[in-house]
Symmetry: C2
Subunit: 253 residues, 2 copies
Amino acid sequence: MTAPTITITNLIWSFDRTTQHVNLLLLKRDQAPFKAYWALPTTTMRDDESADAAALRLVREKIGLALDRLHTEQLATFTQPQRTPGPRGVALAYMTFLPEMPPLTPGYGASAAKWFQFADTPTAYQLQNGTAAFTTPTSDQATYYATQTTRTTTPLTQLAFDHDWMIAMASQRIRNKLDYQPNILLTLGPTFTLREARTVFATFLRCPLNALDNSNFKKNHRQLFTAVGTTTAKRAGRPATLYRLNYLPLTNA
Amino acid sequence: MTAPTITITNLIWSFDRTTQHVNLLLLKRDQAPFKAYWALPTTTMRDDESADAAALRLVREKIGLALDRLHTEQLATFTQPQRTPGPRGVALAYMTFLPEMPPLTPGYGASAAKWFQFADTPTAYQLQNGTAAFTTPTSDQATYYATQTTRTTTPLTQLAFDHDWMIAMASQRIRNKLDYQPNILLTLGPTFTLREARTVFATFLRCPLNALDNSNFKKNHRQLFTAVGTTTAKRAGRPATLYRLNYLPLTNA
DNA sequence: ATAATAAAAGTAATATTGACTTTTATCTCA
DNA sequence: TGAGATAAAAGTCAATATTACTTTTATTAT
């Protein structure tokens, strides 16, 4: 018996200011297992690096981005013996909130790399740019992994490994932290408008944007944001106030 | 280079109805490294079991307790290469909230097993029954692990490995979840009085019990508890109402 | 019975939230 | 230049929640 491989999987989030959508990075695998499936960026931890460092390395390798301030946080660790076909692999899942949305080029092990618009609903992820959507796992964790070994899947409707489950956990974690530590707002960069913050909140609260009243939103979260200026608008309407996060998120790169 | 050992460390919490204190289980190690130091219960993950299962096995082995409802949850995973002296070990930390506080007998690898009263303050854990106290790590994570290799320690004032750091993280996690998912209340068993719930809350909010007004506490957390009866008091004073948690916690044993 | 105790129950001022309306600053296009 | 359109800020007010506090109730000990 050999010790399980330790892999690092990183959920890399960004925000597209053009489409006003939260995005998640997926890679199309070009090797077995799950060849031709979309999957979250994954690497194996090296002998001399921590998992945190490996997660950051993944961002550099997959995005080619050299940012001096980057927030990465642990999501959870996945250890079920049957979570991978073949040799056992333990996955440490991380989340990275990119302050911008750089263009992508597929690297080693991937035939494609793409930002997927993320829209969370109780029954399905709409990870789509007009091309693909993925249903959420509906069962509890034990049931989910019990069916992993026997599942019949297609690359068009499902993700590789237990990555759908990871996304479900990530979405819930982000939702839970929305009111006291909304690190997902780091995807908006150093400053953002209230509308942008509301857009991100609405995504994870599974409600339409206008269900979050701008005025009330500002009052209810005033301890989280500080006004730092205004947009110089090149569009109709009163310029929006720019805010920044009040707390300084832990950065690790 | 060999793959790191995967170890499971479990923070096992309980509540002592006699002393009205939250307690944490520590074992006194009888082998190197950190021989004679107090440490959290730890085991290595087996080839055929998940980390969750290993955490539960740890409860059975260290407590000899066969409970049909037991809540265990993941805390975090610790991967810094220098976190252990000697061969690299990755630790998956779990928390278990025992619904009772059974007597302890030291098992394999331990010369003593003991429930330590837990009192969290910004600068020190008072893990004590009149015998020992442990200072909290005050630095950030990077600094903490940088000094791990060179630290000079004594078994009386410090815990083995990075277990002090784990406890700091656990305390903060419990505090963060107090308002929406206070699983720590599972240590109170199936039913509890408001005073007991306030005692637990006060422990992690680092305030005296009477800073939490009984009447207000009831109103502010009414969505979390349901009244299910009253104590049959053998003491002065009006009998207390008994409550149970409204949500059903995930149990995994 | 009476005092002591502990917790429930009640109260009123204040603060927060939520639904909604009004005002303001900008752009567009005649 | 000015009217209309647009988008966001700012304001309003009733409903709700929170806080600090007092009063009442149910029990035990003497």
